[in-house]
């Protein structure tokens, strides 16, 4: 199908009609409850890097070997690049395609938060490192072919004229492309290194979950308006783009992690997150179970209760009812 048909899609028409009058956004009249729920969660998630005591990581940073330090810096400049794209291009290009005015507002929130993410890496740099090393790492990112390629692929779709493809690109960025980078702070954290930096990254990771959920959800709403044939085309396109990005991620990961022998471990993390990105778009997982088995140390750095799937019939799962936290405070929750 050609791009001609794409520009006359239903969601496009809706948008054009709606844009004839200028309307103020009315949060007392919600068309899609998800807009308000996500807005509420995003605003309560709000944080700034200054809240994280990064300077406590200085002694730990000093224990890293020079090649480990430079790897860490490179990973973080790569992540900075992605958050810069999301903040200044990605989230904003989604605004004209929005189906509701509240959706537009949510994108402005996402856009701003991406800029907070991008800036927080600079806080890490200035806390841990000297200007010359920071400059070196930024130069590496500007010159690394695979990182630049990843940015280029995504930017191409953002500049393109297809609202659904833009959302696919955005969701793959939020839910997949960051994870070759997120791996490293989780790795350090599992070895009790740079733990405050890891706390900051976990805040970013949590934000990205809501971003991926939301854009993926809006993508599915958009898909509902299309014909089955066109939906099938977009689905095929999604898997193609994922594989294109995946091939590139493998090369990028090798550039970064080969010197430390971590590339194979990183790949599992990539497969796992690629499947989640597809699921956020409403599609089935692609990578088989075995290939998505993430190193348990990395998983528990990400989420301490991720592997609590005890089989309670095997007799080993007697801890299944033990909760670590206090009960909910919702007043309804009184039996």
């Amino acid at each position: 199908m050609s791009d001609m048909l794409i520009s006359s899609s239903e969601s496009d028409k809706k948008m054009k009609l709606a844009s004839k009058i200028t309307r103020p956004v009315n949060w007392n009249k919600i068309e899609d409850p998800i807009d308000l729920e996500v807005w509420n969660r995003l605003t309560s998630n709000f944080w700034l890097p200054e809240k994280v005591p990064l300077s406590n990581d200085i002694p730990s940073w000093a224990t890293l070997r020079p090649e480990e330090q430079s790897l860490t810096m490179r990973v973080f400049t790569g992540l900075t690049l992605l958050d810069t794209i999301q903040g200044t291009v990605g989230a904003l290009t989604l605004i004209p395609d929005a189906l509701t005015m509240h959706e537009e507002a949510v994108y402005t929130n996402i856009s701003f938060m991406e800029s907070v993410h991008a800036k927080s890496y600079s806080s890490i740099f200035s806390t841990l490192s000297a200007t010359a090393e920071i400059d070196d790492a930024f130069r590496w990112s500007e010159e690394n072919v695979n990182l630049q390629r990843k940015a280029e692929i995504v930017l191409n779709y953002y500049r393109g004229d297809n609202p659904l493809k833009r959302k696919v690109a955005s969701t793959l960025l939020e839910s997949f492309l960051f994870y070759s980078g997120f791996y490293l702070p989780m790795y350090w954290s599992s070895r009790a290194k740079l733990t405050n930096t890891a706390d900051l990254i976990r805040l970013i990771i949590r934000d990205e979950a809501v971003h991926g959920y939301y854009v993926g959800y809006k993508f599915q709403k958009g898909m509902e308006l299309e014909t089955p044939a066109y939906r099938a085309e977009i689905k095929a396109y999604t898997y193609d783009l994922l594989l294109e990005l995946y091939e590139n991620e493998i090369k990028y990961s090798a550039d970064l992690y080969d010197p430390l022998g971590l590339t194979e471990d990183v790949k599992h993390f990539l497969h796992y997150n690629a499947n989640k990105a597809l699921m956020n778009l409403g599609f089935e997982a692609l990578f088989p179970h075995e290939s998505t088995q993430v190193n348990p140390a990395i998983m528990s750095a990400l989420s301490p209760n991720a592997d609590e799937n005890h089989d309670f019939f095997s007799g080993s799962g007697s801890s299944y009812v033990i909760g670590k936290h206090e009960a909910t405070k919702d007043e309804d929750w009184e039996f």
């Binding site: 998800i34 979950a209 989420s303 670590k324 909910t328 309804d332 039996f335």
Partner: protein, 132 residues
């Protein structure tokens, strides 16, 4: 045959997971004002929706459902959905419900669940039901 009662938001991730299980299933209504009552034992499947502020995570519709004593009496286990990106709050709804209702947290999965999640849950549900 095992029976399921589940909640799923408009995003319907959990709904898609439950459909893949291919078991008799009833959905808790999205409108918290609408109530349902069950008459037979069931396993509850619910996503986690924390507000990021306090120790929350159980969707308000599920809270309403479990506030009905009859519904609470018939729950046999809970399966929770979530996303590991939420860190220590991953599938927190399952933890809360297991504790409050004193039933096993049978399984945790992410988003719409993988084929592996589907087979594992089906196996466990079958095993569990044989014990009744």
């Amino acid at each position: 045959m095992p029976r399921i009662v589940y909640f799923s938001n408009v995003s319907e991730n959990t709904k898609r997971f439950v459909e893949k299980l291919d078991l008799p299933a009833v959905r808790i209504p999205l409108q918290a004002s609408e109530q349902i009552e069950v008459a037979e034992p069931y396993v509850l499947v619910t996503p986690t929706y924390g507000n990021g502020k306090d120790e929350s995570g159980v969707p308000k519709q599920v809270i309403k459902f479990l506030n009905i004593k009859k519904n609470r009496d018939l729950i046999k286990g809970v399966i929770a959905a979530g996303n590991t990106n939420f860190g220590d709050k991953y599938c927190y709804a399952g933890e809360l419900i297991a504790k409050k209702c004193n039933v096993p947290l049978l399984y945790q999965f992410e988003l719409i669940g993988t084929p592996h999640d589907v087979t594992t849950v089906k196996e466990r549900m079958d095993l569990m039901w044989k014990q009744f």
